[in-house]
């Protein structure tokens, strides 16, 4: 209440009566209603109570509250309890000095609602576009060694859920090397998880679930899936998805407070369709370079299509990837007639992959 002071002197002008307006107010100290008149006096608003006491309010401290049918309601910036109602016609010189009406908030009032709404919509659209596209540029700029270190810190060696065996390990290494001989960061593993899925995790780690290995009928099918996931790693999709998720959760935090969906959520479900297409293109390129037939991958997609709906296992792969039929056709088209394709792995090596998790005696079952 520092700025509300009581004054004794009554300032009288010849036009005093004409400039007064009826007023009622609460001082924010007691619940008692005060009635009297308000008038402008230089840079203060004088409140003259019926019993003669006067209060002077600096005009710059007044704050507009609302407009009632009987007149405006005002408050004070540093005394929220203070309420002043002016009743009846307000003299023009006073009306002009009163704080302006605020409805939506300062910025919006100044611009007007339509303009402000358009401006906000524009800013929001730009921000959304930036969050959706910038990661595609920023992702590849982040050194792979950083990503690998961060990925290792979070995922480590996945506990003891990765399967190892005497013949399985070299077979898997051979398959990965055939697809991506220069792979500087990628590591391919089979995890003891009974789900038909494969994921590319932060840090260049490709993990094929044992459920998918068991589902594959040939090494060529497996090669297609692994090539696709390596594609995600090589095209930096993991980092892009992480950055996009991060940006979206900040930008849309205002609407949805449910931020963050976990490592697997990010790694497996939030690639864009164009990222999936890129990974597929990469896979076809690498399969061709390694003389592995793309028909294996096509066959795998065909079975996905047929058995889709059979169980929740399939749903995981289908939900996070484009329609199998469309991809199947593209892999079929990539097959070159008369090409000298060789099996991705010998029957023996493929068998070693199939039995890898059974043979590993101290591997643990993974649970979410």
């Amino acid at each position: 209440m520092a700025k509300v002071c009581w004054t004794r002197s009554i300032w009288v002008r010849s036009s005093f009566v004409a400039e007064m307006v009826e007023a009622e107010w609460y001082d924010g100290l007691t619940a008692r209603k005060r009635t009297g008149h308000a008038s402008l006096s230089g840079s203060v608003l004088l409140l003259r109570e019926d019993d003669g006491t006067q209060t002077a309010l600096p005009l710059q401290d007044l704050r507009f509250v609302e407009r009632r049918p009987e007149g405006p309601v005002l408050s004070l910036n540093d005394n929220r309890g203070f309420r002043l109602r002016l009743l009846g016609t307000i003299p023009p010189d006073l009306a002009e000095r009163l704080p302006g009406e605020s409805r939506y908030g300062h910025w919006i009032d100044r611009l007007g609602l339509p303009k402000a709404a358009a401006l906000f919509a524009g800013i929001s659209a730009v921000a959304l576009a930036a969050v959706l596209t910038l990661p595609n540029w920023l992702g590849p700029l982040i050194p792979q060694s950083w990503e690998r270190r961060a990925g290792d810190a979070v995922i480590g060696d996945m506990g003891n859920t990765l399967c190892h065996s005497e013949f399985g390990d070299p077979a898997l290494k051979q398959l990965a090397a055939a697809i991506d001989p220069e792979r500087p960061v990628t590591r391919v593993d089979i995890a003891n998880i009974d789900m038909v899925n494969a994921v590319a995790l932060p840090g260049g780690r490709v993990v094929v679930f044992d459920g998918l290995v068991q589902e594959a009928e040939s090494a060529d099918e497996l090669a297609g899936v692994i090539a696709h996931e390596i594609g995600h790693v090589r095209e930096r999709h993991v980092m892009q998805a992480l950055l996009r998720q991060f940006g979206l959760s900040i930008l849309l935090g205002g609407i949805n407070s449910d931020v963050g969906s976990g490592i697997f959520g990010i790694a497996s479900t939030s690639y864009t369709r164009s990222a999936e297409r890129e990974a597929d293109e990469y896979a076809r390129e690498r399969l061709a370079a390694a003389d592995i037939s793309p028909l294996g991958a096509a066959a795998f997609f065909e079975r996905l299509k047929k058995e889709h709906g059979d169980g929740p296992d399939w749903a995981a792969w289908v939900a996070s990837h484009p329609v199998p039929s469309e991809r199947q056709k593209q892999f079929e088209r990539a097959a070159q007639k008369g090409a000298d394709y060789r099996p991705a792995l010998s029957e023996q090596d493929f068998g070693a992959l199939k039995t890898m998790c059974d043979e590993d005696e101290d591997v643990e079952e993974f649970y979410f």
Binding site: Y26, A31, R32, R80, G105, F120, G159, G260
Partner: protein, 384 residues
């Protein structure tokens, strides 16, 4: 002197000497809602527009505008309430919670997942439990602080409410009382609800007057038991009915439309399923209506003012039915009117009795919370 130091209140209230609310032949209630949805609509629609184009950031200012309107159309005796909260307070409250709470939770979520993946499920689970307990504690604190914030920003005749207690101890009470409530096979939940209501309001004040809640939980127990046992009763009734129908079809022997009959039974089961949840919900409503009548009915402000709440289960049912109908008919847009409907419902059925002397009602000197309902917002518990 405004001539309002006399009694006020509706039926059963003190004699109305100089009660202006009664003097002009108006409604006898101390609380009257005078808003119209036509006045509210422009506020609601512009709020919706601005909230969408700002990707949700405007919603703090939207809430403020909504409350300013609703409060200003709610009359207590002879004067309207005033909402003096600001959008930026709610916004900063939200930001604070996002930084102090949201980011740590996000990081912890990753740590827990990493621990799980790296093969320390025990440690991960322990961390998870700690996190859940913290959230449990903070949701109690959030409820308390939201009430404190709302009272601190509600003015009547220039006087506001508030509390001297920041609510951190209340959070502990909230934890152990609900824990006891649930551990006793859920049977003590009404006790937890009632005693927490009393505790919460016992720390609140308006002006220099303290609120107090003296409600006892036993009056609500009968209805709670009905809600508690409802699933069992409904399941038995349902199985008996299905069994009877199935037996009937089976015993009817050879008739061509047997498949049709079994199909009809399937339909009946589906209907029974929906009816089960509806009736169970109704049982809860039956309990909740009584609960609010009891806890509000035992509240006092200072020595001379008492409160009442008269909404029956039927009133609640009508409110909810109206909500659902409004949202469905308008394809979801009616959602923006729900806060209006709920506030109107509350003001219509809340009542106060007693005597108040405006000359003696002094401004509250409780500390003013600088931030809004961030926590409550984060836990999505805002009632209005």
């Amino acid at each position: 002197m405004d001539g309002m130091a006399g009694g006020f209140g509706g039926d059963g209230g003190a004699p109305s000497g100089g009660d202006p609310a009664n003097a002009d032949g108006g409604p006898a209630s101390a609380f009257v809602f005078e808003g119209t949805w036509r006045e509210f609509a422009p506020i609601a629609f512009t709020n919706l527009l601005l909230t969408i184009v700002t990707l949700g950031i405007y919603r703090f200012w939207a809430t403020t505008r909504e409350r300013q309107y609703l409060w200003s159309r709610s009359r207590f005796i002879d004067e309207h309430l005033e909402w003096t909260g600001l959008g930026k307070e709610l916004f900063f409250g939200f930001l604070m919670v996002a930084v102090l709470f949201g980011i740590p939770v996000l990081v912890l979520q990753f740590v827990v997942e990493a621990l799980m993946i790296q093969g320390y499920p025990g440690l991960g689970a322990a961390l998870m439990v700690a996190m859940v307990l913290t959230i449990f504690y903070l949701s109690g604190v959030a409820r308390y602080r939201a009430l404190r914030y709302r009272l601190g920003r509600t003015h009547w005749r220039g006087i506001r409410g508030g509390s001297y207690d920041p609510g951190f101890r209340y959070g502990l009470s909230y934890m152990w009382k609900y824990a006891v409530g649930y551990l006793a096979m859920g049977l003590m939940v009404p006790w937890a609800m009632v005693s927490l209501w009393n505790e919460r309001w016992g720390h609140m004040s308006f002006g220099q007057l303290r609120f107090s809640g003296q409600a006892d939980f036993s009056p609500v127990m009968k209805r709670y038991l009905l809600f508690y046992l409802a699933p069992l009763i409904l399941l038995i009734v349902g199985f008996l009915a299905i069994g009877a129908v199935a037996l009937g079809i089976g015993a009817a022997g050879e008739f061509d439309r047997k498949e049709l009959a079994w199909g009809a039974l399937g339909g009946l089961i589906a209907i029974g399923f929906v009816a089960f949840y509806l009736l169970w919900g109704l049982a809860y409503l039956f309990f909740y209506a009584k609960y609010l009548r009891v806890v509000i009915g035992e509240m006092r402000l200072g020595d001379d003012i008492s409160f009442g709440f008269s909404a029956t289960t039927k009133d609640w049912f009508r409110l909810i039915l109206g909500d659902v109908g409004l949202v469905l008919v308008t394809l979801g847009v009616g959602w923006i009117f729900l806060s209006y409907r709920h506030w109107k419902f509350f003001i219509t059925y809340v009542e106060a009795y007693g005597v108040i002397d405006p000359d003696a009602l002094m401004q509250s000197d409780t500390p003013m919370a600088k931030h809004g309902e961030g926590l409550l917002d984060a836990f999505d518990m805002g009632a209005i």
